[in-house]
Symmetry: C2
């Protein structure tokens, strides 16, 4: 990964510098920012894009916007729906190891990803993770799930948590610390999120969730501040130092991510995890840094997957 | 406590030897074994009985059975119901520090104990504990709740657990080990007992349950055998060495206690905990050892209570 700064993202994702670019199906890049984002990532040698969408429209967009597509392959697809299924097919054939969302709706892309016969389902539930660079926090925070799972059950949370842990492993974190958020730090059967949190911790102890150090329930203050945790008598390795914040549900996760973005001026890089390949999910509002961070994180995850996955790339 | 053997009960309860007898309301002792049990315990200087029941009938029973009531006080009560409420009143007045069930029905006694105005309720739920001396296990096991709480909620289990922990403290165990039993050792939302177990462990970490070292869910084999736990990859200080077995519900607890009694030839000494004073709850089928163990355990609990409780005895 080229130097785009010396911030927390860049430190966390610096290992991409030694990696070869990953072939990425860029799905329906029919708006300037979507196409330009892929081209930037290609220039940084993070990805080798295959553009999948209406070929004439993509070429025209590049020409008008002064974007150099170089020798990148374009696979023609009539409309966004076709672009989504053709991109997914590229992954199934082993021709691409990453998906990058272009200017189609997220639901449309995910629909093709989770399609029962033709999709990219694994045994895992699909989940969303934000990589957040919060200026007032000392490292990158993974916030999950703030975008996909509305009201996750305990089993859903197991997958959401495991997806995030494996992402952190891909960054080189050996045993990422997971703070399981709730409204309070005590267990209370009237607040099911606190019970789920306790259950998740025990599941990690029993090896039902692997590779992370979990604690919860933690209220946001004791999750993020060791001081606040101590005040409450909580002696926790996770408190004050989490790598991952596991939200109790979508509302809480989404509000949390948005407050960090808008009030704490955090950058947020989006990813979809749990499918056969990671999906880069940036939005027009994202900063260049965040967009590059999404790509870099996905590249690391794709490389990690090569070691563990049966689906080796054919490229 | 006088020497009645050198077994596990006697070791655990040996501290009663240095204690003064505790004034005990013996409720409706109108059968030979009930009256004789109290007299035995008095002879061992564990208790100073006050017999509460039909005075003429009790005196006659003693005379016929060759039982020497000595100078013990008898408080006349027309029938078992009156005996129960008069006994409870003795405790409320501070004249007695223990209750001992005679030949009335358990429900009748507990009805008077939990009566909202006149009873002996505390903030805690009432629970039952068996002190079991299992020949094939290396120490006394407290099994709870095998007799009162039919389908305890998480909050009920907190009280059941805390009652048992405090009983173990009274025996001099500083941080008793609690194995929370379930059908499996993994957390599974289809088996609520496993979720409760995880929640209870976290509650102990958060100080919502105090003074014990908890682990669960544990299946019976990995609760009782460190070897079996290791085979399952469970690294637990509790596995193989619990002082307390917390049953998931009444059926499981009762079956567990009965199997230990009938197949593993265990002695089982019964106690009711969580009221203002401990209640000695023996049955006719109990061995003398078990009956004495119930009394000794209750005496230890009553002494421990003197240190913590506002209700000092007036005797």
């Amino acid at each position: 990964m080229a130097e785009t700064g010396t911030g927390k993202y860049e430190q966390l994702l610096s290992r991409t510098a030694k990696m070869t670019p990953v072939v990425t199906a860029v799905v329906h890049p029919c708006e300037h920012s979507a196409l330009a984002g892929a081209v930037e990532a290609a220039a940084l040698k993070l990805i080798t894009p295959i553009y999948v969408g209406p070929a004439a429209r993509i070429t025209e967009l590049a020409r008008k916007g002064g974007i150099d597509l170089g020798s990148a392959e374009i696979i023609d697809a009539e409309h966004s729906h076709a672009a989504a299924s053709k991109s997914v097919a590229l992954v199934r054939e082993g021709r691409a190891e990453l998906l990058m969302k272009g200017s189609l709706h997220t639901d449309e892309l995910l629909g093709a990803v989770v399609a029962r016969e033709s999709g990219l389902r694994t045994g895992r539930r699909i989940s969303h993770a934000f990589l957040m660079d919060v200026p007032t926090y000392h490292k990158v925070l993974v916030v999950t799930d703030a975008a996909i799972s509305i009201a996750p059950t305990l089993e859903d949370k197991v997958d959401i948590c495991q997806n995030a842990i494996e992402l952190a492993h891909a960054f080189g974190l050996e045993r990422p610390k997971v703070a399981i958020l709730a409204a309070v730090e005590t267990v209370n059967s009237k607040m099911p999120a606190t019970i789920d949190a306790a259950a998740l911790c025990k599941m990690a102890e029993r090896g039902q969730i692997k590779g992370g150090l979990l604690d919860g329930p933690l209220a946001f203050d004791n999750a993020i501040s060791k001081e606040a945790a101590r005040t409450k008598g909580i002696d926790s390795e996770v408190a004050g130092d989490p790598d991952i914040l596991l939200a109790p549900d979508l509302e809480a996760g989404n509000i949390l991510a948005k407050i960090l973005t808008f009030l704490a001026r955090a950058d947020a890089a989006g990813l979809v995890l749990g499918a056969r390949v990671p999906i880069i999910l940036t939005s027009r509002a994202d900063s260049v840094r965040a967009r590059i961070a999404s790509c870099a994180a996905a590249v690391l995850a794709a490389h990690a997957r090569r070691k563990s996955d049966v689906i080796a790339p054919k490229v």
